[in-house]
């Protein structure tokens, strides 16, 4: 089998030496090494000037030796026997060993080797020379072998002289052939010996008459042919060319077709060899081309030109380094050029080469000189050829006899001679293979010429007939071989698609079943590598990570078919792992293109293959098949299941650390946004499970079981947690897949890189990388892992009540009656072996505008030593914790009126302010201004939540001084059961202008009687579900001036207004809360508490009314102070004296005019109308006054009513010019009610 097309060419100048193992002991590895060492010596230089190379080939079997007279390169010139003595080799088999033991006494080992060697020599009777290499034997033991033929070595390692001995053998053969070459006596002889083939007489038609001229020419032609062969074998191709021409001349006229065919072939092949020597290196790089048109389009034209330029730069040195025909070196050269990628040589390149070659010499004529040195621009070329030929005549004795009128070997003539040869050979059926070899040499010539189109046509025209069914001379194996050779040839010229086609064809021939024969695993072992190499031709790249969204796959149908064929071949050849790999590749890449029946079948096949053995196939590992000739790269099975969008999740809020930078270290930046990025986003902690969220999708129509799914990471020690998934079949609803979390525990600190995942799918171990969203770059997620930190949790004996579904933090629940106090403890526990150097406690709870807070720590003053760089100001309490230590904190819960929290802004359940308007006063808030009020009332709710928040710093500091903070929380749900609550309130004037009654409607929501204690010792009972009104006398607050709230509303911004209002409210709250102490007790339930008045205290509109107004008016009727709302009864026309005392709380002096107005109330709804005309005032109707904080003034009016009815007399103050008008809220006055009747 030829591994390269050039072998067909190099064969004609190569001497065959058969090398075989002999003797009772065999060692194939050692024998292979010997053959390899011999093969390294296959070329020797036998002459310097001209430089002549002698080629030998060390083969283990010879073929077509019956044609060795016709073509000397088929002849076996020498044999080498390789024997191993006992200890160096193993007996061939047990029977041999047994027989050897039994016959040891009779025939010694050395004798056996000697006999085998002699037999080998006798098998090849025409050999010139022979050698016997004996490993492990002593020289004197092998007397039966000629001394000069023995090569005894103690061991293979000690056989240092092996190479020189082989070279010596080659020289010996050379000398014999050279002697034959110089012997041209046949030219002068009258009776020329006629070389004949062994069976020539059988197929020769007629009888030769030896006396005829024709017979003489035939003999002469044949001798010349042989002479030419010798020239070629001894490294003189130029002379061989001349000799072949002479032979053709003679044989043509003698009509000796077979020998003429051989002579034509010899001539053309010699031209080829000369040409190859000349082109040598150029061609080595020329066989690479693009595989597809697409890639070709992307090659800039300049690159092609450059390549052309490069190809011309051939130096003599490089040719000497890489002599033509040296396959390994040629391969090496081609391998060198392949990574440059997509180099391509045009079929018309030779035209440009010709034109660019110097001196305008026709390239086809420059076939190099005798020494085989390449003729480039500077070397001797065709112009010097006549001189050269003359000079070489001394070497060529035959040249004297040959005509000088030889035709120059043009390209056309070379091809013509190849064709002539093929035509002549075709006349002889038994020379079919010889004909085929000639075809391949012709093809090789076209390769050298880069005539790829002509090559393809030539190949098609001449090889087609061998593959035809009518060709019975060749069996299917030979046809397979022909196809393989074609494939190799197409591969060399870069026609990968053609190569794939012929390789596949060769497989079809190879697997052709003749009658009575069944295909064996060995057949598939042969075809598997061939099929594997076709993948490239079909555009299948096994090595590249496959993107499942890739649309540009190439010829999908062909790829599927070829991959399935490869899978079948691998499976039947027994390459289980390779079969699984190919099958998985097929499913991974082409799943959407497979029909359902095929998919089912493939999955069944996969299942069967997996079940066949207990060994788990590793998809990520490279598989080596066929002694390393085939390497199948690892595969990432990303389609089953599709796992995408990895997102690293931060740790749970109670475990998530934050890096607290060391504030002592002065930063060079005053402010930089980069410095702010303290990498707090993705922080994991050693020994703390981290999570990565991924989307998992099953694209199969059936359920998919994924086992051992876990993360693959780099960087630090990591313990992934394996998951098992059962994914439902894909349907229209489940298009987006499901989201799952993959867990793992980092075991050391440092930078962790999450690179991918591994799983067991279909019984296979699969490892995949995460890819970025565009599928191009591998997605490597970096997570910083902090050292192990302390873990603190809060413990509370209150029952557990989860508040949120996805929160698995501990939580507690408490039930209190409104106004009740509930004392309890909470324990802060450090359950790690790392000390906590700072632990700060905070409470998050509903903001209460008035009254005590919901939760309050008892020991607020406890504070540990401050830690640098740690914000401790907000913490209610702070302390340190020892490893596994704990700290108990006491707290109490106060059952606030749930309506008084600032968090719940529901509008529906407002507790309304008193519906009883203070109609008799001017202090009634204006309904229009109510909406803009800063009131904080509208709260409701029964279930309140609060949270204990503990921040703690582990006693670990990094090198750069940073520390790590964690938080833990304990949410508490507090449900407040209403007991005795405030349902409404209103403010009434008190017993003097400086006091007010706060009338509170208290509701008993319980089922039992409640006792109220207020204003020190006053008691009152409230029936169940009843409301009672509790009047509480409260003095006005003189700390807040009358217009303070109005001034607060004039502030520049809403926030400033709010803040000022709040400040005023707090002053008033402090003032009022002292008087609003209403305690309740329910004896039946043995409960007591405080009526929560938070809602009152947060009501700005209420508190506002307790502000001492700017002007207060006190009435005296008939010298008696008017204190209540009781009507003063008078008769019609009866005069009453009303004295008004004007009191000011203003620091500045206030001037104004006081007058009285009368109004009659019609109804609650319709209000009142002005009835000043019914009131008769005698004396001064308007009295001017001047008051300040120190001085009050009185004004007396005498009035009488002229109409019967109920009237109200209210004062009216008109400010003096220059004075500000008084607002309604600035003046407090109780109207005086008169009941006028006719009778008195």
């Amino acid at each position: 089998m030829k591994s390269s097309t050039s072998d067909f060419l190099t064969d004609v100048q190569t001497v065959n030496i058969v090398i075989k193992q002999i003797g009772p002991n065999k060692s194939l590895p050692a024998f292979k090494r010997i053959v390899e060492r011999c093969s390294r010596q296959r070329v020797i230089q036998v002459s310097d000037n001209p430089r002549r190379l002698f080629h030998c080939s060390f083969i283990q079997s010879s073929s077509y030796t019956e044609f060795s007279e016709l073509q000397q390169h088929r002849r076996v010139f020498a044999v080498i026997g390789v024997g191993f003595t006992n200890g160096q080799g193993e007996p061939a088999d047990k029977s041999t060993r047994a027989s050897r033991e039994s016959t040891d006494s009779e025939v010694s080992e050395s004798e056996q080797i000697s006999n085998a060697y002699n037999k080998l020599k006798s098998d090849y009777s025409n050999i010139i020379c022979s050698r016997c290499i004996i490993i492990g034997g002593k020289d004197e033991e092998f007397d039966l072998i000629e001394r000069h033929e023995r090569l005894c070595f103690p061991s293979l390692e000690d056989a240092t002289q092996l190479e020189s001995a082989v070279r010596e053998l080659m020289r010996a053969i050379y000398i014999v052939i050279e002697m034959k070459r110089v012997d041209v006596s046949f030219e002068k002889k009258q009776e020329i010996p006629c070389p004949i083939l062994p069976d020539e007489s059988r197929w020769q038609v007629g009888v030769d008459t030896k006396s005829t001229k024709s017979y003489r020419k035939k003999c002469l032609g044949r001798c010349r042919k042989q002479h030419a062969d010798y020239c070629l074998l001894t490294g003189l191709p130029q002379l061989a060319l001349e000799a072949y021409e002479g032979a053709i001349e003679s044989l043509k006229s003698a009509q000796d077709h077979l020998w003429l065919a051989a002579a034509y072939d010899g001539w053309a092949s010699t031209v080829c060899i000369l040409h190859a020597e000349q082109m040598g290196e150029i061609n080595c790089g020329a066989f690479h081309r693009v595989a597809s048109m697409h890639a070709m389009l992307t090659i800039p034209s300049i690159e092609i030109n450059t390549q052309t330029g490069d190809s011309l730069s051939v130096s003599n040195d490089s040719v000497l380094r890489y002599p033509s025909g040296n396959k390994e070196e040629m391969k090496l050269q081609s391998d060198f050029s392949s990574p440059q990628g997509h180099k391509r040589h045009h079929s018309d390149e030779h035209v440009r080469v010709t034109s660019s070659m110097s001196n305008g010499i026709e390239r086809n004529e420059s076939f190099g000189n005798e020494s085989g040195i390449v003729s480039n621009g500077s070397s001797p070329s065709i112009r010097e050829e006549p001189t050269k030929v003359k000079a070489s005549k001394g070497l060529n004795p035959l040249s004297n006899f040959l005509s000088d009128r030889r035709e120059k070997p043009t390209k056309e003539r070379v091809m013509e001679n190849f064709k002539n040869s093929i035509d002549e050979f075709s006349k002889f059926t038994m020379a079919g293979w010889l004909e085929y070899e000639t075809v391949m040499r012709g093809i090789m010539y076209l390769i050298l010429e880069r005539e790829y189109i002509k090559l393809e046509q030539f190949h098609r025209d001449y090889t087609g007939k061998y593959l035809d069914d009518s060709n019975t001379f060749m069996d299917h194996r030979m046809k397979s071989q022909i196809c393989l050779n074609s494939a190799a040839m197409y591969r060399e010229i870069g026609f990968l698609r053609k190569q794939a086609f012929y390789a596949r064809l060769s497989v079809l021939f190879e697997l052709h079943v003749t009658e009575g024969r069944v295909r064996q695993a060995s057949d598939y072992k042969i075809v598997y590598p061939v099929l594997f190499k076709t993948l490239e031709g079909y555009g299948v790249e096994l090595g590249e990570p496959h993107d499942i969204k890739n649309k540009k796959l190439g010829p999908v149908k062909l790829q599927i078919k070829s991959l399935h064929e490869i899978f079948t071949a691998a499976n039947r050849a027994g390459h289980r792992d390779a079969a699984i790999r190919h099958l998985c590749f097929l499913l991974q890449v082409y799943y959407p293109h497979l029909d359902s029946s095929m998919t089912t079948r493939l999955f069944e096949d996969l299942d069967n293959l997996v079940k066949a053995t207990n060994l788990v196939h590793q998809l990520n590992q490279t598989i080596v098949v066929d002694d390393g000739k085939i390497i199948i790269p690892g595969l990432q099975l990303t389609r089953f299941p599709i796992i995408q969008s990895p997102t690293v999740l931060a740790l749970q809020s109670n475990l998530a650390p934050t890096i607290v930078p060391n504030k002592c270290q002065a930063s060079i930046f005053i402010y930089t946004p980069f410095a702010k990025k303290a990498d707090n986003a993705l922080l994991w902690v050693t020994d703390c499970p981290g999570e990565v969220e991924v989307t998992v999708k099953n694209c199969r129509g059936s359920e998919l079981v994924v086992k051992d799914l876990c993360l693959i990471v780099e960087g630090v020690n990591f313990e992934p947690v394996q998951a098992r998934l059962i994914l439902p079949p894909e349907d229209e609803e489940n298009q987006s897949g499901s989201t799952i979390r993959l867990l793992g525990v980092p075991r050391e600190s440092g930078d962790l890189f999450i690179t991918g995942y591994s799983c067991n799918i279909f019984g296979l171990h699969n490892e995949c990388r995460f890819f970025s969203s565009n599928g191009q770059k591998p997605n490597k997620i970096r997570v910083k892992v902090l050292p192990k930190l302390a873990r603190v949790y809060l413990e509370c004996s209150l029952p557990r009540a989860p508040i949120e579904e996805d929160n698995d933090e501990p939580s507690a629940e408490a039930v209190v009656y409104s106004g009740q106090n509930f004392d309890h403890t909470i324990t802060v526990v450090n359950n790690s072996d790392i000390p906590v150097r700072y632990c700060g406690v905070k409470i998050w709870q509903p903001i209460v505008q008035g009254g005590p807070p919901l939760i309050c720590l008892d020991d607020l003053e406890t504070h540990s030593q401050e830690i640098e760089g740690c914000e401790t100001t907000d913490d209610l309490s702070s302390f340190t914790l020892e490893p596994n230590g704990s700290k108990e904190l006491q707290f109490h819960i106060f059952g606030i009126d749930p309506t008084s929290t600032a968090d719940d802004l529901s509008d529906e359940e407002k507790v309304l302010e008193s519906v009883v308007p203070l109609a008799t006063t001017h202090a009634i808030p204006n309904p229009d201004s109510e909406s803009n009020d800063m009131d904080l009332i509208p709260f409701t709710g029964r279930l309140l939540t609060a949270e204990f928040i503990v921040r703690y710093h582990s006693d670990i500091t990094t090198e750069d001084g940073n520390s790590f903070e964690r938080k833990c929380k304990l949410p508490i749900a507090i449900s407040i059961i209403p007991a005795v609550t405030v349902s409404a309130w209103h403010v009434l004037p008190g017993d003097s202008p400086f006091s007010r009654y706060i009338v509170v409607d208290v509701t008993n929501s319980t089922e039992h009687d409640a006792e109220l204690v207020y204003s020190n010792s006053r008691r009152m009972y409230v029936l169940p579900k009843e409301t009672c009104r509790v009047p509480i006398l409260s003095p006005c607050c003189s700390d807040v001036t009358g217009g303070a709230f109005h001034q607060a509303k004039q502030r520049g911004s809403h926030m400033m207004q709010k803040m000022e209002t709040e400040r005023l409210r707090l002053i008033l709250e402090n003032h009022v809360s002292k008087h609003l102490d209403i305690r309740w007790s329910i004896p039946a339930l043995n409960l007591d508490g405080q009526v929560p008045v938070g809602s009152l205290l947060s009501s700005v509109s209420l508190l506002k009314q307790l502000v001492l107004p700017a002007i207060s008016l006190d009435f005296f009727v008939n010298g008696k102070q008017y204190v209540s709302e009781d009507d003063v009864t008078v008769g019609i026309g009866q005069f009453v004296t009303v004295e008004v005392s004007i009191i000011s709380s203003l620091a500045a002096e206030y001037n104004g005019i006081l007058s009285l107005e009368c109004e009659q109330e019609i109804s609650h709804l319709l209000g009142s109308n002005d009835t000043s005309s019914f009131m008769l005032v005698t004396g001064a109707k308007k009295i001017p006054f001047t008051v300040d904080k120190e001085n009050k003034q009185s004004a007396t009016f005498n009035l009488a009513f002229i109409v019967e009815g109920s009237f109200r007399v209210r004062p009216q103050i008109t400010p003096a010019p220059g004075q500000n008008a008084l607002l309604a809220e600035d003046m407090f006055a109780t109207p005086v009610a008169f009941s006028v009747s006719t009778k008195f």
């Binding site: 597809s292 389009l297 189109i453 393809e456 698609r497 794939a500 149908k557």
Partner: protein
């Protein structure tokens, strides 16, 4: 083979067939014809090497007969954008094939100008198929 058979394929830049059609049109798809279609794929794909080689050495779009395997001849046409038209045929009909290629080239250009069509995508237009059928009837009979 008694009847003239044609297999026409448009090959994209990644060697993928983007349009395929058998002539004469309308014959029932038997298992045998499916097999032939498969063989056609292989022959057509193998011929692409020669087509590419021809395309580099000639400025002509129509490359005449470029390959042959068994009874199948392969003719080719390479567009300016290097889209390759391949015709596998059992009988020589150079002139008809040439005209068919020309017409299909025009049809293809019109189709490629559709802003919704991306080069190298499979052609699924019924109008294109109809045109191909029409020209097939006209020139390949």
């Amino acid at each position: 083979m008694a009847t003239k058979e044609f297999y026409f394929a448009i090959i994209g830049h990644c060697d993928q067939p983007i349009f395929e059609m058998d002539f004469p049109v309308g014959e029932k798809k038997t298992k045998e014809s499916e097999g032939t279609r498969h063989l056609n794929h292989y022959i057509g794909h193998a011929a692409l090497d020669i087509v590419d080689e021809h395309a580099l050495t000639t400025s002509q779009m129509y490359l005449k007969m470029v390959d042959k395997f068994n009874e199948w001849y392969v003719s080719a046409f390479v567009t300016a954008s290097r889209i390759r038209f391949i015709m596998l045929h059992t009988h020589r009909a150079d002139e008809g094939i040439k005209q068919f290629f020309q017409e299909m080239y025009e049809t293809y250009i019109k189709h490629a100008m559709n802003p919704f069509y991306e080069i190298d995508d499979v052609i699924e237009s019924p109008a294109f198929e109809q045109k191909a059928t029409l020209y097939g009837r006209k020139y390949l009979s």
